[in-house]
């Protein structure tokens, strides 16, 4: 490809990056405001216990160089965040960022695996029902996806634990014994439960089917059909790639939210379980770090989606 062809694409990608950066700035501001408005701060605690008057408190503020105005506090907090200093956890005393990244990898396994499960189930159903219309099989499987989406995920998790572990003894109750040869097999129940029960499977089926049906009725597909070319090849970009990246990007928050519950059910040592623990202990720095990391993951997903859209769709970069 020539440079002149790539340049508008690069420009658009830069624009998307700028938008993502702006949104993350907004995210950090919202998180800061929530923390700023929450009752109590270290100084009031100190004042109540040890210091005699407000003047002493103000003196301590000055000595520790804590700015009084909220925007100054925000800026200093933001500069710390940008340098990767998320503070230390109140409960464990460990630095937040390294902790979040350590457990975040487990969550990444869980969410990516469950997304694959969702897609493996939903995509064939969507393609079949778009190509063949509503047969008995596609009808029952669509109904099945709706039933499954309405299940609360923890309830489904307990049913799976009950059936697979108590009744049949297929899996051990504890996870993470990766030293054994079939260690990956123990990851299957939580991944399956989150993939099936996170409530997005029916959405994926419906959206993908609608988009495919729309694309199949377009003129260029009719032309391809008339000249005997492969319909699948022609409809792949618009009918499959774009909708699937769109739906994945928009469902990442839901899957991350579902991960909180599933990790709780299966005692999975991940970000969601850590967030739950932090909320239980009112561990501000930790939950704040987790929120920001989760928002970064969500933004990355939609960034990838828009990049795919720009690269696939030549019209997007021509304006």
């Amino acid at each position: 490809m020539k440079l002149s062809a790539i340049r508008p694409i690069l420009l658009l990608i830069c624009k998307e990056l700028a938008i993502a950066g702006l949104l993350l700035l907004g995210v950090s501001f919202i998180v800061f405001i929530i923390l700023f408005l929450s009752p109590g701060d270290p100084f009031s605690l100190l004042l109540k216990g040890q210091m005699a008057s407000d003047a002493v408190g103000a003196g301590t503020r000055e000595a520790l160089r804590v700015p009084a105005a909220w925007y100054a506090q925000y800026l200093s907090w933001l500069s710390n965040i940008l340098r990767g200093n998320f503070g230390t956890s109140i409960r464990t005393g460990l630095p937040v960022l390294s902790e979040v990244i350590r457990v975040g990898i487990n969550t990444l396994y869980l969410t990516i695996g469950s997304m694959l499960v969702t897609l493996l189930l939903a995509v064939p159903i969507a393609i079949l029902s778009a190509r063949r219309g509503m047969t008995v099989f596609t009808w029952t499987s669509t109904i099945f996806t709706y039933v499954v989406s309405a299940l609360p995920v923890f309830w489904f998790g307990y049913i799976v634990i009950y059936i697979s572990m108590h009744q049949f003894g297929l899996f051990p109750l504890a996870f993470g014994s990766s030293s054994q040869k079939i260690g990956w097999l123990y990851f299957m129940p939580p991944v399956l439960v989150l993939g099936i029960g996170n409530g997005t499977i029916s959405e994926v089926v419906r959206y993908l089917r609608e988009e495919m049906e729309r694309v199949f009725s377009e003129d260029y597909i009719r032309l391809a059909r008339a000249k005997g070319a492969s319909i699948w090849k022609h409809s792949f970009k618009e009918g499959f790639l774009i909708p699937i990246t769109e739906i994945i990007a928009s469902k990442i928050p839901f899957i991350l939210g579902g991960a909180v519950v599933v990790e709780q059910v299966f005692n999975w040592p991940g970000m969601g379980r850590m967030a739950w623990q932090a909320a239980q202990d009112r561990d501000y720095p930790l939950i704040m770090g987790i929120t920001i990391v989760a928002a970064i993951i969500v933004r990355l997903g939609s960034l990838i989606q828009s990049v795919v859209y720009i690269i696939v769709n030549p019209r997007a970069s021509q304006k």
Binding site: L35, V147, F154, G199, G258
Partner: protein, 286 residues
């Protein structure tokens, strides 16, 4: 959405057919379901307020722990603390549905306002509201709620306000798309040419005649989501807490007892608590 809007002709606006005959069948189903929920809540309030329940929902009967149905006047039996299940089911309706109603009310009102601003006036409003929507979409909802819980320790109604606010982008983008589509239609142009006020065009021609069905569908979907969120939160221990009777608490207690339970009776009961959210999702997607 695209297909649905083509049905809405404005010819019927001038006919003498009463509105309940004009409405489509699905409209009636949705509306009657909403009214049914409201009536359920009101009935449970009345029964609770005038002592019309068969038993006091908080009364503990130690002699009858986990009694099977139809023992000593308890129609559905008693729970693990010997409290009458039927009375607690009736009172539990309030804590089960009210937070969800609050969440969708907030989502619909704010979302519609945003949608109108972005769709009808566009320009700067559109950019700003798209930014706000993307911002709200950046947070995984449960993580945001956990953040609020860590910061404020709010009760379930405040949490449902947050759920409502995080539902705003969905409603706003739907209404925005709908209005942008409708603005190209001739009847809106005609209304503008006739010199009608903006608020009449927006509230009568756009919202009432053309966005009603979208809003109702969104309301039922949002209700189902809010109820699922509520049950998840109760499971995590941040929702409605134990002494208050609520449906989702059983829902959360049941699976944990399931692994220990030996009697087959209890195993089937928790399927019952799934029903409301299932019914909502079926109606909304149906």
């Amino acid at each position: 959405m695209k297909r649905y809007s083509q049905y809405s002709t404005n010819i019927s606006d001038f006919s003498d057919v009463p509105f309940w005959k004009k409405a489509g069948t699905m409209d009636l189903v949705y509306v009657s379901y909403g009214i049914f929920i409201v009536i359920l809540v009101i009935v449970s309030y009345i029964l609770g307020a005038f002592n019309l329940l068969p038993f006091d929902p908080h009364e503990i009967n130690i002699k009858l722990l986990m009694a099977p149905p139809k023992t000593a006047g308890h129609i559905l039996g008693t729970d693990f603390m010997g409290r009458d299940i039927l009375s607690r089911l009736i009172i539990g309706i309030q804590a089960y549905f009210l937070p969800g109603l609050l969440a969708i009310a907030i989502a619909l009102v704010i979302g519609t306002c945003f949608g109108i601003l972005a769709g009808y006036w566009g320009g700067g409003f559109d950019t700003a509201i798209t930014y706000i929507n993307n911002l709200l979409n950046s947070f995984p909802r449960l993580v945001l709620i956990l953040l609020m819980v860590a910061a404020f320790k709010p009760d379930i109604y405040y949490i449902m306000v947050i759920v409502g606010i995080t539902n705003v982008p969905v409603v706003a983008s739907l209404i925005k798309g709908k209005i942008q589509f409708l603005k190209q239609k001739y009847f809106i142009e005609a209304a503008t040419a006739l010199g009608l006020k903006n608020r009449i065009i927006i509230f009568k021609h756009i919202l009432w005649h053309n966005c009603r069905s979208v809003l109702i569908i969104q309301a039922t979907l949002g209700m189902a989501e809010a109820i699922l969120m509520e049950t998840s939160l109760s499971y995590l221990g941040f929702g409605v807490q134990e002494p208050i009777p609520s449906w989702e608490i059983w829902f959360c207690l049941e699976p944990t007892t399931l692994c220990r339970a030996s009697s087959g009776r209890r195993r089937h009961r928790h399927l019952l608590y799934c029903l409301p959210s299932w019914v909502f999702i079926y109606l909304a997607t149906g």
